[in-house]
């Protein structure tokens, strides 16, 4: 908790809506972590948590701000070439910020076990059983080539749950239309210092710290938005 406060930047200026407005754009910041770096041990070490949050996530935030500034200039100048050429950096850093923000809330030192209520019902309806769902998300996530994320997503078109993956930092919703409920980061930086090349062990252990309350909240919100 204490450590994360150091990374919050005071928001001095209101968000602007119009292009060319003189009020500066709101900068993205690292979200607060709801637990200390060592709180997820032994599943995820304090060393990994500290690097992952203060270096990797922080870099996505910084580079997102830089990219958005450049993009604002390019848009203001009507420079389409530059606007388009900034899009990979926007996707990469914006996606990185979105994904990690979700990830920290998906985990909890008091997590683990299984979900209950409506979420469990939906999992049983759409996967047959919780075990089936767990197996599918684990296997799919482990099999990702290179860097990426495994996701449990909510399909707002048919109201069903779906397991899928995204490469690199591609954000789930813009890429697939699915609303992200639970993500597993399998970039090597998420586990390497502790698990080395044995990604399956990391994916097996992470189930012990899944914050089902948070996943349930996201599910409930997604379902409510679908009904509107």
């Amino acid at each position: 908790m204490l450590a994360s406060r150091l990374f919050t930047v005071a928001r001095a200026f209101p968000k602007h809506a119009a292009l060319g407005c003189l009020v500066p754009r709101l900068k993205h910041t690292l979200p607060d972590l709801c637990y200390d770096f060592n709180a997820l041990e032994p599943v995820i070490s304090a060393e990994i948590m500290k690097l992952h949050y203060t270096k990797h996530h922080a870099t996505y935030v910084n580079n997102l701000n830089i990219t958005e500034d450049k993009m604002a200039d390019a848009l203001k100048n009507g420079d389409i070439n530059t606007t388009i050429s900034l899009q990979p950096a926007l996707k990469f850093n914006g996606g990185g910020h979105l994904n990690h923000t979700i990830f920290w809330t998906n985990l909890s030192p008091s997590g683990g076990g299984e979900p209950t209520g409506d979420l469990m019902t939906a999992i049983r309806d759409d996967f047959g059983s919780f075990e089936n769902f767990k197996k599918e998300l684990s296997a799919t996530t482990i099999a990702i080539q290179g860097s990426g994320w495994g996701w449990l997503g909510f399909n707002p078109v048919n109201g069903m749950l779906k397991v899928t993956t995204c490469a690199n930092q591609d954000p789930l919703e813009p890429t697939t239309g699915l609303v992200p409920l639970l993500g597993i980061d399998v970039w090597e930086h998420a586990y390497y210092l502790q698990y080395k090349n044995v990604r399956p062990d990391y994916v097996k252990e992470i189930w012990n710290i899944i914050n089902w309350e948070n996943v349930t909240e996201r599910f409930a919100k997604a379902r409510m938005e679908k009904l509107q």
Binding site: L51, K55, H56, T59, P88, F92, Q145, G146, S147, G148, A167, N168, Q169, W187, E188, H189, Y192, L193, K196, N197, V198
Partner: protein
């Protein structure tokens, strides 16, 4: 000593120097029932202090070994499935050059695992300890100057690509396909994602850096730039020229096979 004896001694020395120990990528140009994990041309601590022993060991016995096992399994499955398919009984080079002809149910697995096997063999083959950031030598050096203006201009460009690659992948210096029997084709810098390889684009890679996080995370964590600096210090330009020469011989063989 008799002049002929001197000549014979010199010739035998030359052949020992030029053939030397087998490079890690030897054998990818021939068909084999099963491919072994290539031996490294150095001990696990042979790249210290630039690349630490622990990294080299897990990179070789963990990652490269897994690609080897999975590649052999996928090749076996493919061969058993279709006894008439000749591509499944070709060399790894041939397979990588013809990915689109692999049956779709095996394609991704082979693209990833044959790629992983070959890419790592090339990565190991370009490095050795105590190179001390030497400037390049030989034909490759001359061609670098021709294409990029200078070695430092080339190094800057290559480094920038390596630093900015999103996700997992490699940066390569390759020759384009040979069209002439005498002139060396030009050099290009390209990048690839995951275990994709410029060999599949018809290029002949002579130098490669692995920028997957596993290549540097134990020592440098998020600081990829430091890994790139360490890697430059290990590039063995003699080995790069040998690899360049090896491709020239392959081109001759490929024409013979066709």
């Amino acid at each position: 000593m008799h002049p002929v004896c001197i000549l014979l001694v010199l010739l035998s020395c030359f052949s020992v120097v030029s053939s030397g120990t087998s490079a890690p990528y030897h054998g990818i140009e021939k068909y084999a029932e099963e491919y072994p994990l290539p031996k490294l041309p150095y001990d696990y601590d042979g790249l210290e202090p630039q690349i630490d022993r622990a990294t080299v060991k897990v990179h070789h016995t963990g990652h490269h070994a897994a690609y080897t096992t999975n590649m052999n399994a996928a090749l076996k499955e493919w061969k058993n499935d279709d006894t008439s398919d000749s591509l499944s009984r070709s060399s790894l080079l041939r397979i990588l050059q013809n990915l689109q002809d692999i049956p779709v149910q095996y394609r991704t697995k082979l693209r990833n695992n044959v790629g992983g096997y070959v890419n790592h063999a090339l990565y190991w083959g370009c490095l050795s300890g105590n190179q001390g950031n030497r400037t390049p030598t030989g034909t490759v050096a001359a061609d670098i100057n021709t294409v990029f203006g200078s070695f430092s201009a080339f190094r800057e460009k290559f480094t920038a690509e390596a630093a900015s690659l999103f996700g997992s992948g490699y940066v390569w210096l390759s020759r384009q396909s040979s069209t002439s029997a005498t002139a060396k084709p030009p050099l290009v810098i390209t990048t690839s994602q995951n275990q994709d390889t410029p060999i599949s684009e018809g290029l002949r890679p002579v130098l490669v850096i692995d920028v997957w996080e596993h290549a540097y995370y134990l020592k440098h964590q998020n600081l990829r730039a430091k890994h790139i600096g360490d890697w430059w210090a290990l590039v063995d330009w003699e080995a790069v020229n040998v690899l360049d020469g090896w491709w020239a011989k392959m081109d001759v063989k490929v024409h013979e096979d066709l």
